[in-house]
Symmetry: C3
Subunit: 268 residues, 3 copies
């Protein structure tokens, strides 16, 4: 797998087709997720009312579901949207924010997992909690565990789902249960900006809308987003300017930068 | 109509009076709408609970209603707020985000339209869908049609409402059903930042609070906002820095820039 | 009280411990509150569903409650969260946004006040309205009264609560009902950026999580936030760049800057 070449191809495809990505996301991430989608060339829509959520999936090219600021009223919308996406064969991405923190989140996430998302993206503690494979330790919505600790959980979860799982952290890991890709793009300052993981989940929806092979889509999204963060960190003076520069960088990614900048190592 | 001179006059009036603008807006636009209102010199308030929405209209100088992230619980608040504004003779602005996308939106928007907003602001596809005059084609919340295609719909809708309709796009169009003003301020990069249309709707509320002639208010708001976006694009390196610079530009607009920078052509 | 020295000590403590701060905050402030917490070194979580709010308080180090975009569904969550924090002896901060504007807000705020928050932070009009000590005049969510006008109300409220009250404005005032500290950090342009008061409330939660003396915690948070805003204003070209630079400044605060930059005068 030539991740850099594939990433450039898929980025061009997003810019050409401008896929419509529907997001049922959290109240903190609304702004960053929509802006990241626009920056990369997709068309975002935040639609979550149960009265319209299924109808909207029929026109969307991909769906993302994020439980960051969960409330009971939205759970039925998540359920209906995921089922509709499955019925129509459209990709959908699950972001299990803070799943290890409360029993309400664990219950909702378990139900959504049973609907077999195309891609699950979380931090190490979230993926470990979801897989139930090892003891999860979570500090609120932040991870206290490393990608390496989550590897067995991620592979197990991917095999159960017969789909792709992404663990983001200092090193990112993408697996379909057999193959594993490690990505070392990104920058530590990204952890000091809220909702960037959620924004990556939205961008993953955009790439999955134009590439049906979920391992390739997830790898590309994670690598491109990390690269943009890394470029942004070169000029940032702190988390405020990093956030701004990341949106500029996502929008401005060119072929030379993508081909030379992505550091992804397939293995296994 | 000297749009540039009128715009400077009304901008000064907003800065002097700091009108209180109440917004029932969507979850993506909360931040940008509030910041745009503060940048232009108004006082924003996001108040939507049915328990207080009518009481708040009594102290507000203008109201804006935006259906971007519609949910059933907010519809009654929109209804009550619009009726209260009408009863008190206060201006209210409707932003029919994505109205063409689902039947839930069409139904809610039709009801709000029947309450005769002072100004309606949308993109071409939204205005065409609202007028029911031609076939609307909408991609999620983004328009796939041009301002020119929406002109007949906008004029028809304005005549029905006996009020003002704004169509924003590469060229903006403002009409009261008889007169038409075309504005060519703005910059293409603005379409890569989320919620700028919604922020313009909020700013339109601020101008309408200090100018009762709705065509003049809508023209001024649209021209000033486009000019600020254009100034921001001169230094922006992408959508992230454009968004930041737009708030700076709205705040810093001076007489020379407004008088020389606005490009608005009345016709009809 | 050496406010500058104490502020540096507590800032270091936050960076070292990364306290988990749970926020039930408003829809406008979600983004800025989370980013301010991350910038200062804390770990934010926005958790408000009644199904999980109490369970989350058990793992959080502090709680903040903000009524900015109040809705009936969230009031029970606020009640449950505040009671849980009290039972577990965890600090909680109340931000009574716009309390003077509607009877719904007055009723909810009065109930929350009866649960005795560790710290209350508001603008002059809000504190006057809460104390019921003088006539409150509020323009939406913005204050029309000065810190000096609110001093008697703040002291009275602090004595009733046997806790700490903060009034922010051109001069900030922090009091426990006996002692009064005045802080003159900050910059007028900060009033042109939305939700900065709410972000300060979140940061106050982070400091209160590592310092049990509420007067010291509130003074430190207010001084550090004002200092960061002041540093940001040195390079800002308007409210957009101020907001970005403030997050950079919070993240970058160093010992020399804190020790030399804080202007706080204890009295009384």
């Amino acid at each position: 797998m030539n991740v850099a070449g594939q990433s450039w191809t898929l980025l061009c495809r997003v810019r050409e087709r401008a896929p419509l990505v529907q997001n049922i996301t959290n109240l903190v991430a609304m702004d960053s997720a929509a802006n990241a989608l626009l920056a990369i060339g997709a068309s975002p829509a935040m639609v979550h009312a149960v009265e319209e959520v299924a109808e909207f999936v029929t026109i969307a090219d991909a769906l993302t579901i994020n439980i960051g600021t969960l409330s009971a009223g939205w759970v039925e919308s998540m359920r209906v949207a995921a089922r509709t996406a499955n019925r129509l064969g459209k990709p959908w991405i699950l972001d299990p924010v803070g799943v290890g923190a409360t029993s309400f989140r664990r219950k909702v996430a378990a139900e959504l997992i049973s609907l077999r998302p195309t891609i699950v993206r979380g931090n190490a503690s979230e993926i470990i909690a979801l897989a139930g494979f090892a003891e999860a330790r979570q500090k609120g919505v932040d991870s206290t565990q490393s990608t390496a600790e989550a590897e067995a959980s991620a592979m197990s979860l991917a095999r159960t789902l017969r789909n792709t799982v992404v663990v983001t952290g200092a090193t990112d890991l993408v697996t379909d249960g057999e193959r594993v890709v490690r990505i070392t793009n990104g920058h530590p300052l990204m952890t000091r900006v809220t909702a960037l993981g959620c924004a990556l989940t939205a961008v993953t929806g955009a790439i999955a809308a134009v590439e049906s092979e979920s391992l390739a889509a997830a790898t590309t999204a994670t690598a491109l987003f990390g690269l943009a963060g890394e470029l942004a960190a070169q000029t940032a003076r702190g988390p405020g300017s990093l956030r701004m520069a990341l949106m500029d960088a996502l929008h401005g990614l060119d072929e030379a930068t993508v081909r030379s900048g992505i550091r992804a190592a397939p293995s296994g």
